[in-house]
Symmetry: C2
Subunit: 231 residues, 2 copies
DNA sequence: CGTAGAGGATTGTTCAACGATCCCTCAATA
DNA sequence: TATTGAGGGATCGTTGAACAATCCTCTACG
């Protein structure tokens, strides 16, 4: 009986936790991620609420969730827009990543660590690369780093980085050169994973720092050119 | 002319037009921070909405904002309550603090650093201690660490920690032994500041780590006792 | 003593309305 | 021609009301 009650408690998370606003925000989030709503797009309460068949209040709550994730920006009396990252935003994202991710690696205790998640993300990236799915490689890459942060076993840290990685996707979408952007990092992720498997935190941290510096440089370079085109 | 336009653009930021929901959440946030609404308090829509003269919808929007900040928890059909942190929450808060704050110190470049903010917080703490205002000492203590994080010059990192420190205040209100809790850390803050003034990052980081470990231990010890009493 | 149920109070959700603000258009003026 | 100012339409911000759903308390009954 206790077993069954526990199972029920697990299921409850699936049922009750999905409010209408959360489902709406899920839809919008994936639309934004896939580029259906490019950065800068205004999301009208009327049209979206009408199309999805939800009330304005519910929609505004969904907007609020996504605003909190920094995917949308809210301008008073003007509505919400898909965020357009500035170059400074991208730099700050990488500054935060470097600070936190390196600190996570440094703060690891003695090996062995639970590296299944990291290995899974590496496999995911390799599979996507084999099929030429470079967007998938980018996603797997983000998964790798999310799993890395998960090693810190801190809910708050993980949540911060979830939001940072979601923002990073916005930048990737503007850049839109997924192969050139993501391909080189498959091998570097592998190297980081191997260093961790060897229990060599110091090497892993140094690889990670180099990775992030290079990635920032490359993203900013392409991003600056791209932003210059549009504006 | 371009000069003046630039000045005006700077001012636009502090024109600060905010919605009433945000203003309401500002009020409630500071009330919670100062302990006017202790953890566990239920915030009734009717009474608060009536007292502040805003409609239920607007108030609920303010509640949602604060719920996102983890200051309130929402229970279905029961309303919102000022968050009561668990011991695990407190531990995670300190885990995050240690990760981020130490990484900030480690990531500092070459001295000198802009330490005016830190010195100001130290002075604030000393002044409060002189007057026996131990709650003020706790506030100054939080200011010290907020200024410390500001040295990273990362907006996202600063925002994460702002929210973490706001949560920490919830714990302090439960513990409610401000003198025993905060007094010992005035001297340690001074030591950290002095190490930074000497440009000795390594010493500063090690002092900081020791500080956080001791503080966590002390808070959790008292906190566990306190929670045991009530529950 | 324990339990079922009635009733009141509170929250959940939606809708309609009105004022406020923004943006676009167009005419008037230097 | 370029700039200013006045409309007007569209959209957002906020309120108030209404009704359903849920919770809490108190009472009555076995």
């Amino acid at each position: 009986m206790a077993e069954q009650l526990k199972d029920l408690a697990d299921d409850r998370a699936l049922l009750g936790r999905t409010s209408t606003a959360e489902r709406v925000s899920d839809i919008l989030r994936s639309r934004i991620a896939e580029g259906y709503f490019p950065p800068g797009t205004r999301l009208s309460e009327d049209s979206i609420g009408g199309a999805l068949g939800v009330s304005r209040n519910t929609l505004r709550e969904a907007f609020r969730l996504l605003t909190h994730e920094r995917l949308l920006v809210h301008e008073l009396n003007r509505g919400v827009f898909v965020r357009v990252l500035t170059v400074e935003d991208v730099e700050d994202i990488y500054r935060t990543r470097r600070l936190v991710e390196c600190a996570v690696v440094r703060g690891l205790g003695e090996p062995p660590y639970g590296l299944e998640g990291l290995a899974g993300a590496v496999a995911e990236g390799r599979a996507a690369a084999r099929e030429g799915d470079w967007k998938g490689v980018g996603t797997a890459n983000i998964h790798f780093h999310r799993e890395l942060v998960a090693l810190a076993a801190s809910e708050r840290t993980a949540e911060l980085m979830r939001s940072v990685f979601a923002e990073l996707r916005l930048a990737f979408h503007v850049v839109d050169e997924p192969e050139r952007l993501h391909e080189p990092y498959i091998a570097r992720n592998v190297a980081i994973l191997e260093a961790l498997q060897d229990g060599d935190r110091q090497k892993a941290e140094s690889l990670l720092a180099g990775y992030l510096d290079d990635s920032l440089e490359r993203v900013v370079e392409v991003y600056r050119r791209r932003v210059g085109e549009d504006g």
